[in-house]
Symmetry: C2
Subunit: 439 residues, 2 copies
Amino acid sequence: MPDIIEPRVLKGFRDYLPDAEQARNSLLSRLESVFRSFGFVPIDTPALEYAEILLGKGGGETDKQVYRFTDNGGREVALRFDLTVPFARFMAEHVEELYLPFRRYHMAKVWRGENTQRGRYREFMQCDFDIVGTDSASADADILLVIAQAIRALEAGKARIRVNHRALFNRFLARAGCLDKSVSILRSVDKIEKIGTGKTRELLTAEVGSGIADEILSFIEPGRDFETTLEKMASFCDKNDDEAMAAKQRLRDVYEIALAAGAAESLYLDPSITRGLDYYTGVVFETFLDDLPSIGSVCSGGRYNELAGLYTTRSLPGVGASVGLDRLLSAMEALKRPLRRDSLPRLLLANLGEAPESELHRIATALRFRGLSCEVYPEAKKLLNQYSFAQKKSIPFALLMDASSMGRQIYPLRDLERRSTREFSSLDELAEFLKATKA
Amino acid sequence: MPDIIEPRVLKGFRDYLPDAEQARNSLLSRLESVFRSFGFVPIDTPALEYAEILLGKGGGETDKQVYRFTDNGGREVALRFDLTVPFARFMAEHVEELYLPFRRYHMAKVWRGENTQRGRYREFMQCDFDIVGTDSASADADILLVIAQAIRALEAGKARIRVNHRALFNRFLARAGCLDKSVSILRSVDKIEKIGTGKTRELLTAEVGSGIADEILSFIEPGRDFETTLEKMASFCDKNDDEAMAAKQRLRDVYEIALAAGAAESLYLDPSITRGLDYYTGVVFETFLDDLPSIGSVCSGGRYNELAGLYTTRSLPGVGASVGLDRLLSAMEALKRPLRRDSLPRLLLANLGEAPESELHRIATALRFRGLSCEVYPEAKKLLNQYSFAQKKSIPFALLMDASSMGRQIYPLRDLERRSTREFSSLDELAEFLKATKA
């Protein structure tokens, strides 16, 4: 006998067993329906790219997080670590074959050799959606409407989409004379939920003095409603500052559209939302579930000026968001929204060893023709074994064709949870019943 | 200005632009519906695994086709090159958490550093489905029924599933006294379509002499129908050979089930089908489209005795098949079955700069609520630009809300292909019309 190799996966990598994979597929397919209903189309890019493309010239040689190697042809290659960089390369390469504005979604795996403590994985799926080629309130709003509709489609309860505008914050800092420190100020403000107001004031005071620190804290305090908050934020800026007033108008336009589309109640103007990443230039947003705010934002993003500046001189402004799939999946589980129900088979045709195999398959075929999922147990094992199989697979019903029911042309259906049996006199009736009891 | 990096993908890798990705998604989702209707459940495994797991102990060090490298933690790792080996590892690792028989499908990318001539890709998607944990005619037949139903669901015309049984061939060779040469004989027979009967006879004669060569050629000649062919094949075996007679019975049982399930007309018993791979032990099969036989088999597979012998001592017999996705996609295109229609948006809400943005989004929301996909053009560009955008995206209709239609509360719909406009007096009517004209 040959040596047995221990079956195991790499640290930070996961197998998806059917329950988990069905849940993930259901989540993705519901998201996909929403994306499509707004005209977004799917794309895909290679898992492996030139290291130079993914990491930039000369960049990344110290980045331990990237899976990078030399292929058999001597090329420096790397596994993608996000979907944003490949999308930028994709747009630069294909913009002439496409149309603008280009709405795309991309659901695919990425790889990062991260520290696997604290539930981080080295292989995980990302889900990004963007509208590229337009700098308009309509596009900004569409991204927010997609998020609101996705939360609805997932039946994940109420959600708050916290919105802000980078320029409004920056122009306020400009008026206050500390725009040069904006990056570190944004970073400190970003921590406020984690470290509290007192600690944030300390950080800010150390950087810009207590007067401006208090002004910043006052700026980021939300008002009663969207309008009030917006007016308050604008009041911190110079009224003659065109950029600030354009940002104010943009937020107002986005809110108007959300109102018209019935999504305004999910929208909160939150001046403390900044998103750490440098490349955002306009609206930014994060999404929190009312029933589970602690898991953090389940969908975040914003507007950027240049998607593909590394690869093309063509200007490609855009707005987009990234769905936190792992977070959403945990949330759905915690909220007891059993996603995988979507795709479960409904019926096991038990094999009692009395009806011919071919007869079981004839019935199964007829039921599938009527739109039902079902499967034939392939061997005449003990009935209890077959029941236990059905239970493990969450199949709620078993059809028990024996010599007697074959002869009488009836269909005895066992409800495996209630442990009761009911007879049907035709396949149509049986199919109707099973459809009506659909989970 | 920083240096621009040339946007490009690695040789043998592909971007999927929306048309291609929509076609692929439609294909996958139709296959998935069929798998589910037979009780198959999805799984997923990591793209990256220990090299030892994928290549065996000491094996594969010379295999140039495998993307293999040392990760940042010093582990020898490799990208999966098929879905069979990871599935074997998966079953060995998780069999106790699962149930048997286990029906799974797996659609995922694999990577091979192959020569990219002749349309071979280094990254491509595989789609495998198997039933593990049973050696039964019922399971063998289910795999064939899935194939027949998948061809139907894809509207790919008629297909021939060519079936054979490895044991029947082998027991015939045993009787003829040349079982020891079965591997090379099978290989020669496998080439017959490519090299012709004459050349195959030459190869066989060189191996086993002309008498047995002729007997082999006679054995692999199909008869009038399934039954006749089966009887003829059995007549080449020893009647007291239990293994041969069991194989004959298995093929007959499978055929009975296919008859009962209405799939017998796709099933052809073809004694020349052998499948090159060593691990098949029972039924083997290949699938050819009647309208496009030249593209080769679009779905092949067979029964194997041991799935996971490398990783466990537990016996896991199974039967399964692999769908040739790239071939099927080319076939669907050649047969003019435009898969991507499934997922196209139907309507562009043109932006004439007269209706408020929020009004366009209000209408779009109302139409989505009625089950339609649509998108709002985000800027008031020239109408011709918007029409050209819709055409490039294959959107057939545009809604033209201007000041007049806003005032009169009517909905002017432009048929972009026929260049005609029609007015609707309510959103319900508009939605009904668009649904009724669904591609």
